[in-house]
Symmetry: D3
Subunit: 280 residues, 6 copies
Amino acid sequence: MKLKKLVLTGAAGRLGSYLREPLAAMCDELVSTDLVDDIGTLYAGERYAKADLASYDQIFPLLEGADMVIHFGAIVDEKPFEELLGPNFIGSYNIWEAAHQHGVRRVVYASSIHAVGMHKKADFIGIDAPHKPDTFYGLAKCFTEDLGSMYWDKRQLESVHLRILSAAQVNNSRALGSWLSYDDLIQLVTRAIDTPSVGFAVIYGVSNNDRCPVDNAKASFLGYRPKDNAEEFAEKVLAEEGPVDITDPGQMCHGGPFAKVDLGQSGLAQMNVVDDKKTT
Amino acid sequence: MKLKKLVLTGAAGRLGSYLREPLAAMCDELVSTDLVDDIGTLYAGERYAKADLASYDQIFPLLEGADMVIHFGAIVDEKPFEELLGPNFIGSYNIWEAAHQHGVRRVVYASSIHAVGMHKKADFIGIDAPHKPDTFYGLAKCFTEDLGSMYWDKRQLESVHLRILSAAQVNNSRALGSWLSYDDLIQLVTRAIDTPSVGFAVIYGVSNNDRCPVDNAKASFLGYRPKDNAEEFAEKVLAEEGPVDITDPGQMCHGGPFAKVDLGQSGLAQMNVVDDKKTT
Amino acid sequence: MKLKKLVLTGAAGRLGSYLREPLAAMCDELVSTDLVDDIGTLYAGERYAKADLASYDQIFPLLEGADMVIHFGAIVDEKPFEELLGPNFIGSYNIWEAAHQHGVRRVVYASSIHAVGMHKKADFIGIDAPHKPDTFYGLAKCFTEDLGSMYWDKRQLESVHLRILSAAQVNNSRALGSWLSYDDLIQLVTRAIDTPSVGFAVIYGVSNNDRCPVDNAKASFLGYRPKDNAEEFAEKVLAEEGPVDITDPGQMCHGGPFAKVDLGQSGLAQMNVVDDKKTT
Amino acid sequence: MKLKKLVLTGAAGRLGSYLREPLAAMCDELVSTDLVDDIGTLYAGERYAKADLASYDQIFPLLEGADMVIHFGAIVDEKPFEELLGPNFIGSYNIWEAAHQHGVRRVVYASSIHAVGMHKKADFIGIDAPHKPDTFYGLAKCFTEDLGSMYWDKRQLESVHLRILSAAQVNNSRALGSWLSYDDLIQLVTRAIDTPSVGFAVIYGVSNNDRCPVDNAKASFLGYRPKDNAEEFAEKVLAEEGPVDITDPGQMCHGGPFAKVDLGQSGLAQMNVVDDKKTT
Amino acid sequence: MKLKKLVLTGAAGRLGSYLREPLAAMCDELVSTDLVDDIGTLYAGERYAKADLASYDQIFPLLEGADMVIHFGAIVDEKPFEELLGPNFIGSYNIWEAAHQHGVRRVVYASSIHAVGMHKKADFIGIDAPHKPDTFYGLAKCFTEDLGSMYWDKRQLESVHLRILSAAQVNNSRALGSWLSYDDLIQLVTRAIDTPSVGFAVIYGVSNNDRCPVDNAKASFLGYRPKDNAEEFAEKVLAEEGPVDITDPGQMCHGGPFAKVDLGQSGLAQMNVVDDKKTT
Amino acid sequence: MKLKKLVLTGAAGRLGSYLREPLAAMCDELVSTDLVDDIGTLYAGERYAKADLASYDQIFPLLEGADMVIHFGAIVDEKPFEELLGPNFIGSYNIWEAAHQHGVRRVVYASSIHAVGMHKKADFIGIDAPHKPDTFYGLAKCFTEDLGSMYWDKRQLESVHLRILSAAQVNNSRALGSWLSYDDLIQLVTRAIDTPSVGFAVIYGVSNNDRCPVDNAKASFLGYRPKDNAEEFAEKVLAEEGPVDITDPGQMCHGGPFAKVDLGQSGLAQMNVVDDKKTT
C-alpha cells in the first residue's frame, strides 16, 4: 500500500533533512515544511511550504488530504519556557488539531529522552516509565506525548512518539549508549509508518548499542530492530575521556548534560554537543 | 512551627473559599488571590489581591516572602485549548517560576483525576499510573505535574499534587467512589503543608469511600487518612439512577463524564454535574 | 432502581439458602432453582423451579426476562472429573449461554479460592494471580472464570466472580484467615449486584479477618468492605490445635486441605470441614 | 539419553505431520495417533494407532510405557462448545489422566495464543499474562493449561504448553509478528522434550520475527531461540494489504481474526486464514 | 496450644524487658538471657542465664528443648564493624546454628528498618524491597535475614524477622511515621509466635500511624493489626520542630538519622534519639 | 584513559589467573595478591604481594594509590561458617574499608549465583531479585553485596558485583544454561572497569547461552554482551546424562548442586564440579 500524502515538519533540520528522501519514496506527495525560505533541490514528489508551527492558520492547510504527519519541527535546544511555548508546545497542539480536523490517520513525532531525562541510567526504563523531564525542552515532549495519548483515546487519531536518545556524532561516553544512527532512524520512522495499527505508541530511538540504557520491549510489535552499534567508537572515546564525576547528574541520569543544565539555559554551547535535531 | 506567609490562588472558587479559613489559621499572613474584585469579609491575617494567573507580572510580587503557595486557581471546566492556555498552563508556569525566584519552599497544587481519567475504573490505579488525560482540562493537570517534577529535580522546589476526584455533591453513582468531602479536603491540604519533607509528591484527593477506585498507598508517608464515606448516600443514589450503558467510557473510566465529553466542549451543562472546583 | 427478576441457582445449598431472603427483597421476582423437589416456605416474590444445571433445556427457560443470575449451584466437594463435568463445567456454560440468549445483563458467580489454591499463603495474592487450581473442583472455577472473561470481551455479558475462601464455622487455624461470615457474604453479593457497571470482575469472598491472606485491592471499585473478623475465635482455636507440619501444603497453600487432598477424592469427610457451599 | 517411547496425538494434522519424522528420530518407538484410518508411510520406529481423544478407553492403552506425550490433537477451528467438548476439553483430561496412571513423565501440549487472544498487541504479554480467551477454541487451551498446572502441583506430572501464535503461511500483516516457521516449531518441540526438568511451563511458539508481539523471557531456561523471521515477507504483504480499521479487535488484539469472530462460529472460511494446526 | 519452652535473648534491653512478662505467660518455661549478672525479679516460669551471644558454647546449652527463640540481643547502636562482629553477626549465626542442632522450630528476630534504611520514604517499600542498609548496624540485620532465609530453605528452621522502625518516644517528626508502641510490639511478637506456619517471613514493626511509610501487605497472613497511632503527638511535635533540610538523607530516607550518620560512628548521642532497643 | 594502578585479589585462583594478563594491559601497575608464595612469571607492570584477606594490616598497604580493586579472592567452596568468616566475610570488609581509606574509586567483585541460588530456575530472576542464598558460601556473597551497597550510598565508593553462574567446563545439563566462558569473563570484567560511572551495580556473569536462566536487562547500561554459547556442548552433554529427579532442588534451583548440598559441607567432591573460581 503506497501512501498518497505525507507531511514532514522540521524538514530543514538536521534529522528532517535526512528523512526527506526516504519519505518522498513512500508516498505520491511529500509536503516538507520549515521556517526557512528554501530547502534546496526537491525530491521527486516533494513540495516545500514555509510555515510557522506556532500558527494554526499556516499549518492547517498543509495537512489537507494527508495520510500521516511526520512531526520533527521544534526548537531543538533548552531555552526559556517563553521561547519554546510557541513552536514546541502550541506547535504540537496545532499539528494534532489540524490532523484531526482533516481526518489524518497518524502523527509520527520526534519526542526525546529528555521527557524522562531525570531517571537514573541504572534504572533500565521502559516506554512506560513516568515522565521525569530534565528541561523545558523535555517538558514540551511530555506535553506532546500526553496530547497524543488523549487524541487517540478521545478521537482515534493514532500517534507514534519516537523518544530519540541522541542522534549526534559519538564523541563522548554517554553516546556509546545513546547513539541513534541515521540508518536506524530511517528504519524507526519507516516502522512507525508501515505498521498497520499503532494506537498510541511510545518507543525509544536508539541504535543497537552494547551500552543501550533503555528498554523497548513493550514496543516490540512495531518491529524496530536497530542494526548499528556505537561500540565501534568505544575504545577511542573512552581513551580520550578523563575520569568523570560519579555523583554528577549528567553522568548518572538518562538526560546526560540536559540533566545538569540550568533550566532555560541553552545546553548546546556549554556542552559542546549537538543534541537531537534542529529546525534551522 | 507556624508559617509566616501562605499564598492561595483561586480563593474565590468553590474549593478555594473553603480553604481560606483553615489556611489563615496556619500562618501569620495569608494572601488570597483570584480574578474577582472582592472576596468578602477577610479572616484574621488574610489579605486579598486581585491578579490574573496568566500574567507573570501580576503573580510575581504576591509570592515574595511566602513559605508555600496553595495553587487552586484555574478554569474548572473543559474548554478549548486556547481558553485554558493562559490560566491553566501558563498560569502554572508563572506560579512555579515566581516561587523559584522568591525561594518559596513548596507548591500545593489542585491537580485532578482528569490527568489520568482515561484509565479504567477496574484498573485500581496508583499515584504512579502513567498520564492518560481525558480532556484539555486534564492535559493542563498533566503539564503541571510534570512541571512540578522538573522544578523539584532541578531546583529543589517541593510540590504536592492533589488529584481531586470529585468535590461536588454525591448525586450519582460515580460519586459514591469519587467523593471528596470538605473536611477531608482540609485534612489533605493540611498534610500537604505540615509534612516536613515531601519532594515531588502526588496523591489522590478522595474520601474514605467504600467504592473508592484509586490507590494512595505510595503516598502513605503524607499521612492522609480521610474520615468521610459516600456510602451513606448509596441507597438513595442507586435507587434513583436507572440502568447504565455498561460500554460507556463515562461509566468505565476514572474520568467519568469527562471521559466521554468531546474535547474542548464544556462538560458542565451537559452532564449536570459541577466537577471539582471553580475560580469564579 | 429495583430489579425485575433475579435467578438464584443452588438455592437449596448452604450458602444459597442464606441468599434467598435478601435476594427476594431486591427484585420483583426471584426464581430459585436447585435439584431438590422443594425448598420449603417461599419468600415474597420467590418462585421455586427444580432444574438440573447440566441440562441446557431445563436451564434455558428459567432465565427469560431476568436481569441477573446469581449462580451458586454446583457440586461442592472434590470429586472425580467425570462427576463434576456436568454440573460444574457444563452447568456454567449453560448458565452463560442461556443468559446471553436471553439478554441477561450479569452473572454473579460463586467461584472459590480453590481456583488459586496452590499459591502459597506467604504470597499475598491479588485478584489477578494466575490460576493455580488445587482440585478438579477448583479447575471448574478456573474454567468458569475464563468463560466469564470471554463472554464479557466478546458479548458484553458482565460477570462478578466471588472467590469464596471458606464459609464454614471457624474451627481451625486456617479459617482464622479464610472465614467469610454470612453477613459479609450478603454484603458481597449485594455489591456484586448494585454496582452499576462491572465488566468482568473477580473478588475474594473473605471477612475482615486480621489474618486474611489475600488482596482485594484491585476490586476496590466494587465497594466491598467486610465487617466481621474471625480473630474473636483465635484464642480458642489456637489453644485446641496442636503443632502443625510446617512443610504440609495444606498449611502453606491458600487451598488448605484441598491443596493436599488427592485429586478426585472427596475432601469433606477426611478433613472434617464443610467447605464453601452445598447444593443439596 | 535416547527416549524409549513417545506418543504423538494429532499425527495426521498439519503440524503433527511435520513432527512425525523428528520425533521418530528421538526415540526407540513413536506411537502416532489420530482419527484417520491411515497416515501413509511410517518412519523408522513409528507405529500408527487410530484413536479418538474423547474416549479414555481408546487413549489409555496407547500411553503405556511412554516417556512423554506430544499432544497436538484437537479440533483446530472455532466451533460451538458442544463440538469442542469431546476432543478439546475431555481429550485433554484423558491424556493427562492416562499419562498419570502410566507414570508418563511429561506432556508437551499445543496450546495457542487464543488462550490470551483478547489481550491487546500493544500489551507485550509474557507467559504469565492472565488467561483472556477469544473463542471456545481458546477456552479449551486455558482449561488444558490449568489442568497441566494442577497435575504438576499435585502429581508431579510435568508439562510444557506451547502457545503457538500462527503456523500458517505469511499472507497478512498480523502474521509478520505471529509467524512460527516449521523449523522453529521443531526446535521448540525439541527443547520442550530435551530440557531435563521443566515442571509446569508455558512458552509462546513464534519465530524470531522483528514484529513479534509477545515475551518469552520468563521461559528462557528452556533455551528456545528461533531462527526464522517473517520480515522477509513484509514488503510484499504490506504492499498488498489495504488500510486497516484501527479500532477493529482483530487488528488490536493478539488473537487476530479470532478476537473478532462470533463465538462458536467457524473462523476459517470467513477469515481466509488457516490458523494453527489441523487434525484431519 | 501452650508452648513448653521459649528463650529470650537481650532480656535486659529496653524492648526485651517489656517482652519478659508476656512471653513468660505463653510457655511453661522462659529462659531469659543477656550480658548482665541479674535482671531483677523473675516472672513465674522464668529463669535467667547470663550468656554472651558471641560464644557458641555459652548459647548452645540454653536452647536445648526450646520451641522457639525470641532473639532481641545485640548491640543497639551504630559502631565500628569490629565491635558489632561478635554480638550482631556471629551472635546471629550462633542462635540459628544452635537452634538447628536442638531441633528448635522457629526464631523470632528483632530486625530493623536499618536493613533497608537508604530507601527513600517516598518509596513505600514492602517487605520484599532489596536490602539497602544505612549502617554496619543495619548490615548485621541484612546478614541475619539472609541467614534466616537460608536456614528455612535448607533446614526448615522457621523465622520471623521483625523490622522495627522505632520504638522510642515520639519526639520528632520522623517518629510520627515510624513509631512502634509497646502494646503493638507485644501484639507483633505474639503473632510471630502463634501463627501456626510461617516459613521465612519479614514484617515491619510499626504502629498504625497515619504517616506510616512502609507496607506490610505481603505479611498479611501473620495477622498483625497495630492499634496505636502516633498522630496524637503530631501537633506538639510539629510545632516544636523547625523547618528541615529537604535534601538531607536523614529526612528523605527510611533510616532517618542513621541514613546520615557516618559509618561506624555512634548514632545515639549526636542524634539525641534512642533507636530501637538496647541490651544493657 | 589508562588507569594508574589496579589491585587483583585471588590472583592465583582459577579465574584470577586468567585475569592477570588483561588487567596488566589496562594499567601502569597491577598488584596481584593471594595466599601463595609465588604466582610464577609476571606480566609487564605486574607485581605480586602475598597477603591474607582476613588481615586488614596486610591488605591496607596494597591499596594505596589504586584506582580500582578487582576482588576475586575467597575460599571457593561451601565450608562451615567458621572457615569462611575470615576470608569471605571479614576479607570483604577489609577490602572495602581499605579502599575507602585510600580513596580508591571502585571495587569489582566476584559475587556468585549462590547469593540467589534458592530461587527456582523457572523464575527468570533479574539482578534485583531478593537474596536467597543456598550455602554459607552464598551468604558471604549476600553480605558483600549489601556491604557494597552501603559504601556507595554512604561513602560514594562504587562497586560492580559480578554474580558468576559457573565458570567450569560444560559437562552437565545445568552448565548449558549457566556457563561463563573465559572470553566472556574478560569482557565482563573489562566493562565493569571501563564504564565511566556505575554507582552500585549487580550483573550476572553468564555467557550468551540459549538456556541462560537469568536476566541482565537492568544492567544494560554496563554494555556486557557475551559472545559464547554453551549450546555447542548440548548434544553431547544431554546424551550422556540420564533422567534427572524432577523434584530435586539441585535441578529446579539456580544454585544447582549447592541448592542441595548440606550447609557447611564441601560441595566439590560430591558434585564432581569445580564451581566458580579458586584462590589456590
